[in-house]
Symmetry: D2
Subunit: 150 residues, 4 copies
């Protein structure tokens, strides 16, 4: 975060706006744990309907919790941004019933491009996956916030 960042209340409005409209993430039982400009932490408990053929969390749900932390972090600045490319390394299985926590930080942001690094950890603190996402800002116009007259 630098001096050009919006105040915390505006960052919160951006994050809450995205979260409010992302019903898929809420349906997966995700929770926002923390956020700041360029950062977000999201958690999710591995449910029975998320289990793969090997008896552990299907990779797409580990991807999901990381992707949502990424989405909140890259949209925290205001202008609408979307994922362009994501790379994930699966390092140990997610267990049934385990709470996974995905913490996103901003590695790079310039013009319309951003790079975010997300680490997913299990309940024991071990690294379950690392994820790197590239975002692309769709427009220069910030989304409306509660401070803006509509």
């Amino acid at each position: 975060m630098n001096s050009a960042e919006p105040p915390a209340s505006v960052v919160e409005a951006h994050v809450r706006d995205i979260w409010q409209r992302d019903s898929a993430s809420r349906d997966m039982g995700m929770q926002i744990e923390a956020f700041a400009a360029g950062e977000a932490t999201v958690s999710m408990v591995v449910r029975d309907d998320m289990i793969n053929a090997h008896g552990s969390c299907h990779g797409c749900f580990i991807f999901a919790v990381a992707d949502t932390a990424f989405e909140l972090a890259c949209n925290s600045h205001g202008p609408v941004s979307v994922a362009a490319d994501c790379q994930i390394s699966f390092l140990r299985p997610g267990k049934p019933g385990e709470k996974l926590t995905a913490a996103a930080t901003e590695t790079y942001r310039r013009g319309r491009n951003g790079i975010y690094d997300i680490v997913v950890t299990g309940e024991d603190g071990a690294t379950v996956a690392v994820f790197r996402g590239k975002s692309r800002q769709l427009s220069d116009k910030p989304r409306p916030t509660p401070e803006d007259p509509q």
Copy 2:
């Protein structure tokens, strides 16, 4: 596929075995469209509970259909294999109600390592995403098939 491949009935047994135990993929409404040694095609309709904050399919479900095609393709040879690394480029949104089709082909396989390329297309035939996955075989022992005495 080369001469060392198991016969089609054995490949089918491997694919059906993985599919039978992957309840998450079935819960997302996926369907197997086709398979062969090292190849698999899977489809999925974008449901209302898969929509993200931008009104299109959450990236994790586009990832999911590609990942499942990858899983079937890399396990089609028999020995249990898991995803180690995946990279996905999102090229156009998946629309609500749209049927997405993920086709996996084998780019490389040697020893315990494989590389699979998956293309996800929309109903209009346009490319929605490209996905490259690296698999790691966990053991040399093939899984039991219906032909094997248990």
Copy 3:
């Protein structure tokens, strides 16, 4: 290649133009083996000054031959394009004195974005590396060709 492609002589002019100005690739001893719209094949012999601490070709030179094939393929259409992201998997070492061949094909192209897949093979035909590159077109204006009045 589709009907919107420039004629072969124009593709050749674009490829030759890039090649002529890429002194680094020529200094590494690379040779153009073939090209077409969206495709290029480049070869390079592993020289003594390209050897790493393990006695095989330094990864950067395997990257280099793949990257140059990618550069020629993505610029074959005319408008200036540059590499935005590259991913390489190293699969077997490149040997001292071995001729490596990198073949680039176009997996996706729309608007200013392209995805190219490059396979690097050794003299024995074995896969040495696979490389996926994303290109970004810098402008809509095609570079001048011999057919254009300057």
Copy 4:
């Protein structure tokens, strides 16, 4: 670095050993700027023979300086490790004559697998590229060090 790390003199021996045998990196004019267990910083000046068709540093040499920092960092622990996969995002051109600095840190290490993140910066401190490398340890046996009887 944790309590299981070898003492600094042993780390130095491992790094010097790799460096001594990596003639390609030295021929490109690279310099070791700093190192520790799991970390290494390497610099390189962009020479005239490293220039591409766009008048800036050929991507393979930006890759090279990052790859060498990665190689030193992942081998700093002792056992011989090699690059398995590398991903690089090119963010701004490297200029002729510019000194590029690549700093590698360890994001993950467990068993034979490691993940390293490298940031390449220009003389103005701007980020030129970010690189993520996965390493694979070839054997459990540490390389001989000056402290070992040969």
